[in-house]
Structure formats: C-alpha cells, structure tokens
C-alpha cells in the first residue's frame, strides 16, 4: 500500500537526520574539549592581567596620582560615540546561542539611540553580521572566520583600531558583547566595558595595602602599553570563551535534536504498525466475506 511506503520513507529520512545530528553532537563535544583546554590554559594569565589592571586603576582612583589624565582610566560622562564589538558564531544550528547575543546588541543599540549616542558596530562572526546586514544596520567593520578559529594575532589586529580610536578621542567607550561559556549546559552573556577601564568595582581599601609601585619615568608609556595588551587580551579571551560556548550550545541543541528524532521514529513506527495491521484486517475481511458470499 502507498500509505505504508510513505511512512517507511519518512522513517528512513528521520533516522538519517538523527545520524547527522548525533555526529554533529560528537564533533562539538570533541571541539568543546579543545576549546575548554585553550580557555583553561590562559585563565591564569587572565586573572593576573585583570589584577594588574585593577591595581593600577585603584591606584589612580584612590590616590589620584599618575595617569589621572589618561583617557583609559577616566569615566567619560555623556559619551557621544560608542564602539561595540560583538562576537557570534560563523555557523548556526546551535540553539539560541547567536540570537542571544544579537538581542543584547539590539537592545544596546536602541538604548543608545534613545540617548542620542552614536554607535559604531563592529562584528565578528557570520551569523551576527548577516543578521544586521539583513536588517539594514550599518556595520563599521566585520571579521569572518575569526570566531570559529580564534587567533591571537588576528584578534589583536581587529581590536587595535578600536583602541586607537578611543585613545585619539574618536570614540568615548568600547564595549565587548559575547556569549561565554559557563558550564556544559549554560552559556552566559557578557557585556563587558573594555575602555575606559571600569572603575566602579574598585574599592579603595584593598588597593592601599597593595605594594604596587610603578617606575615614574615610563608611567604614561607603560599605562598605554598595558591598556593595549589588556584590551587585546580581553578580545582574545572573548573569542575563545565564545568558541567554547558555541560548541556547548551546539552540543546541547544537537542532543535535543537527536532525542526528538528518536521520538519521531518511535511514533512513526507505531503509525506504520497500525497501518500494516489495518491492511491485514481489511484483507482478511475481504477473504472471509468472499467465502461467506459463496455459501
């Protein structure tokens, strides 16, 4: 019967899909492990870098010495133009991973628009770029292939323009928006203010006890150079964190897809058996009624 064949075909197609999603899940699991390893290795550096920056920031904020005129360490009131860098994946099929970031960026955009602040959007990752292009939002700068394969050198180059524009006074703030890895099943959205360095977290009491001493002669140069490295590193870390998150999101999405396919095959099997049963019953009735009519 045609109906039976249709169902059989459907079962086959769904189980093929299931195979694909399962393979994608396995690939993501392997890639996630690598990304996690990468993130783990640079965590110590990240912690130290943040500590140094916050110590310097604390010194500037609390004791009001050195670098007080440095743009990177002073809160800018009423920013006129803001740089936003967002990181999305190059590929889809990873649940709400990309859309979460996109939504956050959209919200920032409308918030700033309400305040009459000009926003310069710089995008990393195909998905986010495509979305904003489709919606007619102008992107200042884009980078594809960077979010799937983070490389320090390329990340450095990408953010350097933003850092320099900020230092030259062309922009008043630099934000980094990305979806980061929290654990195997959750991602966490980060909206990080990179420049000027966020001073709101700094408490004066603990920095006064710190023994931080900066050689006077190279203070300005040192601050500039440290801020560069800090921002560049933040960019790189965002990228590797985002890769880990992307893979964990995809792993989850593909796991759900595999399970759904499994359920579907199950219910299609039931449907197939029912149809088969019905066909047999009809045939039997035909035979019996034929025999009956002969009597």
């Amino acid at each position: 019967m045609a109906n039976l064949k249709d169902i059989q075909r459907q079962i086959k197609s769904v189980s093929n899909t299931q195979k694909t999603t399962r393979a994608m899940k396995l690939v993501s699991t392997a890639k996630l492990r690598r990304a996690e390893e990468l993130a783990k290795r640079s965590r110590l550096y990240a912690a130290k870098m943040n500590q140094v920056i916050s110590e310097i920031a604390g010194r500037i904020k609390c004791s009001k010495v050195g670098g007080i005129n440095n743009r990177c360490f002073n809160e800018i009131e009423n920013p006129k133009i803001v740089d936003i860098i967002f990181v999305t994946a190059d590929k889809g099929l990873c649940g709400g991973f990309n859309i979460q970031t996109i939504k956050a960026v959209k919200k920032l955009l409308s918030d700033y628009k309400a305040k009459n602040v000009k926003v310069r959007l710089r995008g990393i990752g195909k998905k986010g770029i495509e979305f904003f292009k489709y919606n007619g939002v102008e992107l200042f700068d884009i980078a594809i292939n960077l979010s799937s394969k983070p490389e320090k050198d390329k990340a450095d180059d990408f953010i350097l323009t933003s850092i320099e524009d900020f230092k030259d006074g062309n922009t008043d703030a630099l934000y980094l928006v990305y979806n980061g890895y929290k654990n195997m099943i959750t991602q966490e959205l980060h909206i990080n203010k990179i420049l000027p360095v966020d001073l709101s977290q700094v408490e004066c009491s603990d920095t006064q006890t710190s023994m931080l001493e900066i050689e006077d002669e190279d203070e300005e140069k040192m601050l500039d150079s440290v801020v560069d490295k800090y921002a560049q590193y933040a960019m790189y870390y965002a990228l590797i964190d985002s890769v880990a998150a992307e893979h964990s999101a995809r792993m989850q999405a593909m796991d759900t897809a595999t399970n759904n396919a499994k359920d579907m095959v199950k219910s299609l099997n039931v449907k197939f058996n029912k149809a088969r049963q019905a066909a047999i019953t009809t045939e039997l009735i035909e035979i019996i009624s034929g025999v009956e009519s002969m009597k």
Partner: protein
Amino acid sequence: MDKLKLEILTPNGIVFSGEVISVTLPGKEGEFGVLAHHASLTTLLEAGVIDIEKEDKKTESVLINWGLVQVDETKVVVLVEGAVAIRGENESDIAKALDDAKALIDSIKDNNPAIATVSAKLESAAKSLM
C-alpha cells in the same frame, strides 16, 4: 639562600613556574636582576631574554617579545605575549626551541637595537646547554 617564586605566563599557558634563586629581566630601562626580598615594582619589559638561575644552580633562558613584570618580596610574576623557553632533553629539542625563538625574534616588528644582541645571547645560551 632565600628563594623567590617565579611565574612566566602567556595567553597560551605557563612557560615557567617554580622557585628560583635569581632572575634577570630585560627592563625598558635596561637589564635588572631580582633576588629574594627585592623592593616591589611593576614595570615593562622589552623584547629580550629572561635568565633564570634555578635552585640547583642550573640556568635557563626564556625569550620574550613584550612583558609586564610585577615584583614583590617573595615572588615575581611576568606577563608576556609570546615566549619560548630554551630548554630540552637533547640537542634536537634545543635546536627546535632555538628555531622557535628565532621565529619569535623575526616577528618582533620594531627594529630595536637591542634585538640584535638578543639573538647572539640566545645562541650562547643554547650552546651552553648542548
């Protein structure tokens, strides 16, 4: 002799971590050595070689392309961008490390006069190991 803790960190991992007797760093204002109980300071390093004197009196060299060092009485933490440690079990390992180091030197863009002396220093460090 008192020891101090030295950590050399890069974005890609730890290059060196352990107790050392002394360490010589290529500071912006010139080379400086650090022993235990050094006064605290934070300063920048430029491309050069970090010489480490380990507990067992052996020395080790690490090439860096940029650095930020934090020194306090008991420990020295060096944050660097790129680093290559000149070490290895046998000659081929050392030769490989030396090649990596040369690649790192080539990637340093600014033509600092100090860079020239760095390669010479590296060669001699590698030779002493072989």
